[in-house]
Amino acid sequence: MTIQEQWIALLTILRKEIRRFTRIWVQTLLPPVITMSLYFVIFGALIGQRIGQMDGFDYMSFVVPGLIMMSVITNSYSNVVSSFFSAKFHHSIEELLVSPTPNYIILSGYVLGGVARGLTVGFVVSMIAMLFADIPFHSVGVTVAIVALTSVLFALAGFINALFASTFDDISIVPTFVLTPLTYLGGVFYSISLLPEFWQGVSQLNPVLYMVNAFRYGMLGISDIHIGVAFTGVGLVTVALFITALTLLNRGTRLRS
């Protein structure tokens, strides 16, 4: 296929993905907005007042970047995992497999679809957050870069999950048993400086910590970890996941009998 034809194929997949999650917006866009608004009200406005300051910011401002990141992570992941798994389950993925669209375009199309949903939700949630908290936006560049990279990373992870999944249970296991714990323990709600030294060390093994802190740094200018380390780590993992997903796709793992 020529570059032009590949571009058309990519846009076709992306358009279809965006249509899918906007068509079922009650299932895809509304729930995170409601959940996050509840978090803002409870943690920020109600409980937050009692917690006082964290790292020099009131608790609401501290928790907002983490919550936005949490919704970006879940939505990027779950968009790709459910869309690609249902395409596999209902065999509509065959439409792409019989076509000359190269695998890296198929992968990129689905990943961009997940990113589109992750960032849409992230944007809406950020707008709502502005009503509750005063965000100084220390560095817009860092904020946007880390949120985009994180979204790509989790969309890729969702794709790999969907490739291996053979039942609908298989696509909820990872989000429930891996993603949720990692996010909740990834410095969304607290600064790891509050933890005993041992648990600070353990927390540093959690990739989500780096993303949340880099994002918080972009918004507030504070971070538990070094920003350069965060970008390098997240970047490397993203590349590794892309290569893994593409290799599996090229092999036809669980797609071709």
Binding site: Q4, I8, S86, H90, V98, P100, T101, S257
Partner: protein
């Protein structure tokens, strides 16, 4: 002549060790209307799966218009449109979107894709349904939707896997007519079926597949002729020295006391026996020569009857 499809020594062993294809050889000329005929489980869908890149082959070669799937897969895919046996579209997507998106996956610009989708949806009587989600269509419409989707990038070879299974008689006829029209316009068509009747009304050439091997590959005419003929073996009391000549029958000695004769179905045997007696040859016993093709078709026909007549044993 250019081959629209050529397959040589194709083998497929599934992950569970089952050998679904055991060395298929097949070639289909450009412009042909070709039937791949065989009972359930023969390996028809597996063969099509390999041709359409959905099943990975174990061994062998496949090329489409001379383009090998091993070395020119992208170019080969562009020549091919496939209508699978099972519905494989997203039931929640709109009819129009399904067809337009498929063109997009072939790199066709959206404005061109929309025109092509409209053309085929109109021809297949689905234009009024273009804004409906696919799940709202009847079975026959879903089948036609898959035909429109397979044609939207204007392939030179169209393969349909049991296209009329579960489609009622009326619709079947109109689908046949549509396929004949696009074949007349130059599209090579291969269809699989387990109805001899369907192959007979549509196709010029036929291959018969059973248990993963090609049993016969011939023209429909020749096939029907073969099926219309029975071979008997006659054992005689007297020894024969050379083939007896009886007008209207073809006789051939197997050994000194037996001979083979081909009889058209419905042709009388009395005359043959009379002439043989006149020549002093007495037939002491007679049996049918086993014919694998014949047996296969008896099974195909029997299978079809029991489907048609419900639970009759």
């Amino acid at each position: 002549m250019t081959k629209a499809l050529s397959i040589s020594q194709l083998h497929k062993t599934y992950g569970n060790g089952f050998k679904a294809l055991k060395g298929i050889d097949l070639s289909v000329n450009e412009g042909d209307f070709f039937a791949l005929l065989g009972p359930n489980g023969a390996g028809k869908s597996t063969t099509i799966g390999v041709i359409s890149s959905l099943v990975s082959k174990t061994e062998g070669e496949v090329s489409i218009f001379g383009l090998s799937l091993d070395t020119d897969r992208v170019a080969a895919k562009k020549q091919l449109g496939v209508v699978p046996q099972e519905f494989n579209f997203n039931q929640f997507e709109k009819v129009f979107d399904i067809v337009v998106n498929q063109a997009g996956y072939f790199g066709i610009e959206r404005s061109v894709a929309m025109k092509s989708a409209e053309k085929y949806l109109r021809q297949l009587g689905l234009w009024e349904k273009r804004d409906n989600p696919a799940r709202m269509l009847s079975g026959g419409m879903k089948r036609r939707l898959m035909i429109a989707r397979a044609l939207v990038h204007e392939p030179k070879l169209l393969i349909l896997d049991e296209p009329t299974a579960g489609v009622d008689i009326e619709l079947r006829r109109s689908m046949w007519q549509f396929l004949q029209e696009i074949n007349a316009e130059g599209t090579t068509i291969i269809l699989t079926t387990h109805y001899l009747e369907e192959a007979e009304s549509l196709c010029r050439n036929v291959a018969i597949i059973d248990h993963g091997t090609i049993v016969e590959n011939t023209s429909i005419k020749a096939l029907l002729k073969t099926l219309n003929r029975e071979t008997f073996i006659l054992d005689t009391r007297e020894a024969m020295t050379n083939d007896p000549i009886v007008e209207g029958y073809e006789l051939a000695c197997i050994d000194s006391h037996s001979m083979e004769v081909d009889i058209e179905k419905g042709q009388s045997l009395n005359e043959l026996f009379a002439v043989l007696s006149d020549k002093g040859i007495h037939v002491v016993s007679m049996r049918n020569k086993a014919n694998r093709l014949e047996e296969l078709f008896v099974n195909l026909v029997a299978g079809r009857k029991s489907v048609k007549e419900g639970n009759e044993q």
